[in-house]
Amino acid sequence: MGLGHGFALALGGVVVAVWLGLMGVSLRQAALPEETDGLVLAVFPPGTSDDAAFSAMVNAGGEPVRPTWLGFAWVARGREAGFVGRLKNEGAVAAFGELPVGPALGGCAVVSVDDKRHEIYKLQP
């Protein structure tokens, strides 16, 4: 392949593919066990409607707290053990104790020292 736009696109594509693989493994590790209750991030298949997600959370014995920018991921609270397992039975893909994806930018010289950001992402005690 010659050096040009195609080369750049192919390189970018391979990098993104590797990144997606690593993210997949990490997110699988980060998923909460089925017996977990409390505040969680419930992730549904992309394209799930708000109504369907809402019903799933209620049927699992929990309550929706707020939607996220992703649309198919909701912060939900379950007060009884096994909430995550029930969410999965209702169609959720996984549940997390933290919001595992979020924005950040370093710039050439700057790193944010916002020590509150972790609290925003952290759901489980």
Partner: protein, 415 residues
């Protein structure tokens, strides 16, 4: 301009392999750094430190990155980029590992500050670009500088969520160890540059008179166009650092949701990939000087419009996209101009000085933003200062002579 030799490097070190390895190094070097802010919460919580402890480590890191740039560049010019990149990667990895186990403030400052700062000086895109300039055909040089800068930008964009996922999956200390491990790939990848070592190496295309480091510095700072370029790069640092630090609180104070304020920075990062690459492509086809004039002028216009119109989610998104396109797109034409003025022989060091000016501007942008906000109760003064500096940078780039420095031509004629 003399060309020592264009003899072929060892077979597998083709320009394509060098570019892939260089881009991965740029990505790896910028990546973990963009995740640093994610660790302040859990680290401070575990150790019981205030944010001032982490902030000092970051300040040390930035100043050493900037101040170490000319030295790392000179080492790369003298011995080739490979050992410098490899050493930088090892120091970076050690710094990240030390962060994970640091139980005293001194150890944190040594790891996150000194080691990572020096690691960045040795392993970031400035050295990669100097290596590309030696090993990539001249007609692809600007493009290669663009793709290296874009790769660094992409590293920022991809590593931040990955750092967060690592923390969620494995805890913050293991996450740091994983990031440290990823930096050990740098010495492996740096091997691709091994054929470009040393200014007397006959296997690479080194251009520019062999006049010695001190003489090169003396001639560079006597050359008006180089001084103007370095002054302009100061403005780039000022604006980037000010926006990265102060845009989110500025937006939330104006009623924008914290989520969109944070995502505006991510949007800048995403468009930065496109802007950096496009800048490299354009730099190979048109005047680099005019490209820089246009960049700074558009930054000034975009910022002026942004602060004059009411702040809405739409204006935030448009401004973030515009600034993203203009963000690191100064790097390929700036490094390209240094190579054009003085050749590639001292490119690492001379670009390092320009980058140091960038880092000083960044320091002042962050500091002044905070100081003037405290004194005036708003960011208005610094925003307008940023507009004025953008216009200043556009003006000072205009008279830059886009040709080899006369002193260099004279030295080459004598050689």
């Amino acid at each position: 301009m003399s060309l020592n030799s264009t003899a072929a490097a060892p077979t597998w070190r083709t320009p394509a392999v060098v570019i892939v390895c260089g881009c991965l190094i740029a990505m790896l070097a910028f990546g973990p750094r963009s995740s640093m802010g994610l660790f302040i919460g859990p680290l401070s919580e575990t150790r019981g430190w205030g944010r001032d402890v982490f902030a000092l480590a970051m300040a040390i890191q930035n100043i050493l990155w900037g101040a170490g740039g000319p030295f790392a560049g000179a080492l790369a010019d003298r011995y080739g980029p490979a050992p410098v990149l490899a050493g930088g990667g090892v120091l970076y990895a050690l710094g990240l590992w030390l962060m994970s186990v640091a139980d005293t403030q001194l150890l944190l400052h040594l790891g996150a500050g000194v080691l990572i700062g020096l690691g960045l000086a040795g392993a970031s895109f400035g050295i990669v670009i100097a290596g590309f300039a030696r090993m990539v055909p001249a007609e692809k040089r600007s493009w290669s500088m663009g793709i290296a800068t874009a790769a660094g930008s992409m590293g920022q964009f991809l590593f931040a969520p990955m750092g967060q996922a690592f923390i969620a999956a494995y805890g913050w200390q293991t996450a740091l160890v994983l990031l440290s491990g990823s930096m050990l790939l740098v010495p492996v990848l740096a091997n691709a540059f091994a054929g470009s070592g040393g200014m007397n190496n006959s296997n690479v295309a080194v251009t520019g008179a062999n006049i010695g480091f001190m003489e090169a510095i003396r001639q560079a700072f006597r050359h008006r166009s180089y001084v103007l370029l370095v002054a302009g790069f100061f403005v780039c640092g000022f604006q980037l650092a000010f926006i990265t630090t102060h845009l989110p609180p500025y937006l939330t104070a104006a009623g924008i949701s914290p989520g969109l304020a944070a995502w505006s920075l991510a949007l800048i990062g995403l468009f930065n990939v496109v802007g950096s690459y496009a800048s490299g492509v354009l730099g190979g086809k048109m005047s680099k000087r005019y490209l820089l004039v246009a960049n700074y002028f558009l930054r000034g216009v975009a910022t002026a419009v942004f602060i004059l119109v009411p702040i809405t989610p739409v204006s935030v998104v448009i401004y973030a996209a515009a600034m993203g396109l203009l963000w690191l797109s100064t790097v390929p034409p700036t490094s390209g101009l240094v190579a054009l003025m003085f050749g590639t022989r001292y490119l690492g060091m001379l670009y390092g000085f320009a980058f140091f000016s960038h880092q000083v501007g960044a320091f002042i942008g962050v500091w002044l933003g905070g100081i003037l906000y405290e004194r005036t109760g708003s960011y208005d003064v610094v925003w307008w200062m940023s507009v004025a500096l953008a216009m200043f940078a556009a003006i000072v780039h205009w008279p830059i002579a886009e040709k080899p420095a006369p002193s260099l031509a004279g030295a080459e004629a004598k050689a």
